[in-house]
Subunit: 137 residues, 4 copies
């Protein structure tokens, strides 16, 4: 991921409910942060996930990877940088880097399949496909 203009930046405040008894953000919480990042990226393109869902499509996560580089703490204001690294007719992949100021906290990706409610794999709607592909070029 190169940090060019196609990377979307969002910020999120760490709650007590995001942390664990180790005194740091719980490992599973980062997948929530990734979700927040890609949701805001899609919204910024006027291709919201909510709208996709209302059209009858879902983009379930089929793969996730997180590399935890440095702990994050309660009350940290985290910077979530998200980009679309891969888009095909039936799937896409978001990359995410999380920072506190200049410190890299975590990075990783989620891969998604495009399905309809019944669970069958399907093509992304054309406007989503073209809008998302434009971002990866």
């Amino acid at each position: 991921m190169s940090l060019n203009q196609q990377v979307h930046t969002a910020t999120i405040r760490v709650l007590y409910g995001d942390t664990d008894a180790g005194g740091i953000v719980y490992n599973g919480t980062y997948l929530r942060f990734f979700e927040f990042g890609r949701g805001e990226l899609m919204r910024s393109l006027d291709l919201s996930y909510k709208n996709l869902e209302q059209l009858g499509f879902l983009l379930p996560v089929i793969e996730s990877y997180v590399r935890y580089k440095s702990p994050a703490y309660y009350d940290d204001l985290l910077i979530i940088k998200t980009c679309l690294s891969e888009v095909t007719r039936k799937s896409c992949r978001f990359h995410c880097h999380i920072y506190r100021d200049e410190t890299l906290i975590a990075k990783g990706f989620t891969k998604h399949a495009c399905i309809i409610r019944s669970g069958s794999l399907t093509n992304l709607p054309d406007d989503y496909l073209s809008g998302m592909q434009a971002l990866t070029e």
Copy 2:
């Protein structure tokens, strides 16, 4: 709540993911524990929530109360005692006490309305109503 034979007992192990940076179980986690307790109570009556849902009914929480008496910690094996304290045609209330050994950790209740998917208030199915009312007598 008197602890008679109509109280159902379940146990749950506290995960790191249930705790927060204060070193104790997060306040919101107890509503998960309450959910676990009432789910197991209903299953023990052969009136599972899953089955109710498949019949087209939902029992959303319309009120919750928790009194936190003593902290619970990572790895604690908690004892969840649940009973039905009130059942009407369209609502019910579960009471819950959580212990670690003899120590009372938290107690409280959740009140639920019976609705159909569209959100309209409706009557509990007859077998659920009679089975649940039998427990409160």
Copy 3:
């Protein structure tokens, strides 16, 4: 709670991770939203919880109550209105109302005790006590 200038307003976007299979925000998630609301209220007074914690104090929740009025959904932008309704030397209570536009989604409170790390009840630091009491007058 009267909605005067002493009420702090924050907004939060509902994630998939906040919802459940009933298609609405999970009942336990509201205690996270309450936490977010009171954290932002305290920050707005320059009396952050993080700072209190660094001074060696904790404000664990000793009581919580939520009245769920109307469901909230994925992607809703919720408005969280929080005020301090009661402050004593050793405890405080926050009231919270959550709205989507004009619709009241949920309301309730959390009551907190002031303790030191070892668990003993203690007085709030003077600046916190006076700053918080000023808000309830």
Copy 4:
């Protein structure tokens, strides 16, 4: 991972609080399930994580990977099979497969570093190292 006798099996019931508005278990919840699986594996060896923590050691997750193969639903009784795939003086890796009956729901791993509270990398205590290495042979 070959499913021999060195694989530990635990079961967990899916709560509403584990699911999302897509009607299935939320992607981030699987990292909780992984935590439950490895915690029970360690307990079965009399090498509990709680005890390690009391000795002053932590095993934070430094890497996680999940491959979501098939959705899991509310009330599913999931079977969590966990093994230790790699143990060095300062790190270890757990592999996890989650099933509902014969259906593979998800698989993946978490990698952990051994640190002391201050955050410095350190060696696993000897009894943990030998007990854990015995499992990978």
